[in-house]
Symmetry: C2
Subunit: 203 residues, 2 copies
């Protein structure tokens, strides 16, 4: 779904108003049937004999992905990675706003980071009691992350975006998305080894 969203945005930027599942599939390397099946799961957005109106479909997908409402985020961990995430612009203008930043390092306390004052992690519960938070971003060192996660869950933060290299456990009804850099890199390494082997075999 996010892939469709991105591609339709590109089409819109090119002022293309109409697209068929066949064209979409060709561009995205997916079968046309797959696309029609994906979309029809959420409703009937196309027109027989015509295809899909780009802007209409985009609106539907934005709604499905929840891009049509504001999400309140907080960030825990203002190290290298945390700072990079906080400064990252691409999702701010998609309705995802970091509204609180926490770090355990007292030296960082009080510093500004992309419009937020860095607060001590001990203030987390206080903040959560007073403010609505949809998604907690965890960019702490490995040892701290499950504890932070538990504290977020306990205060009913439903979505966890995890950048720490730990497989976080959350109860049913909560969502974790892992951004495991090392795992991603290992997947490359794994696939490189595969193609390397295949090349040697065909030699």
């Amino acid at each position: 779904m996010p892939i469709y969203s991105r591609f339709l945005n590109e089409l819109k930027a090119k002022d293309i108003q109409r697209v068929s599942s066949g064209q979409l599939g060709k561009s995205l390397n997916i079968t046309a049937a797959q696309i029609r099946s994906d979309l029809s799961y959420f409703g009937s957005f196309g027109q027989h004999g015509y295809g899909y109106r780009v802007d209409e479909l985009l609106e539907h997908i934005r709604h499905i992905l929840g891009m049509d409402k504001l999400h309140h985020l907080i960030l825990v961990g203002a190290g290298n990675l945390g700072r990079a995430i906080a400064s990252y612009g691409s999702f701010r203008d998609r309705g995802f706003a970091i509204q609180g930043i926490f770090d355990s390092n007292p030296l960082l306390e009080g510093n500004f980071l992309s419009g937020c004052i860095i607060q001590p992690v001990s203030k987390l519960e206080e903040y959560l009691a007073a403010n609505r938070v949809d998604i907690g971003v965890i960019a702490t060192p490995r040892d701290a992350s499950q504890d932070i996660c538990d504290r977020l869950v306990k205060n009913n933060v439903r979505g966890i975006w995890n950048f720490s290299p730990i497989h976080l456990i959350v109860p049913q009804g909560f969502i974790v998305e892992h951004m495991h850099l090392t795992d991603s890199l290992l997947r490359i390494s794994f696939k490189l080894r595969e193609i390397e082997q295949r090349r040697e075999e065909t030699k």
Copy 2:
């Protein structure tokens, strides 16, 4: 596979020497059959009636994932995200070493970043001709990324680790791994909307 690797490392840290597919499955929330099937694809690493020796299995998996050899990386784009990646320690000690850093901003030129001098992007080809590079890390703005990707591919850099918010196209025989922050965030948003809906329905 990376998940197994991480978990086995934890077991090893706890000095546990032996594990069965049943135990593994329980901890990782996978069926035992799945695990045995995954592993047997690469060989027979277990012992009948006993299970798997943690350190042996770990060695096999490290080999499968290519963690037993050094990978030469370069980083293109030394902005917020690029700097965070360069400073990230977790993969350096897994054999992934960033050995060249490039940025188009002349102000950054000559600066040090985690042991490397930042070079102008125009020197990319020169560097690639003189040095072996396995994986190119792309952390440039969206407009530059496909161009950089093409230049890496042209110089036979087989693996591309993409942090820019673009779906990069590479020819057959090359590998791209996308770290699309926004997509990941949208998946959370999507799932949050789902559980929200389910909760409303059961009300």
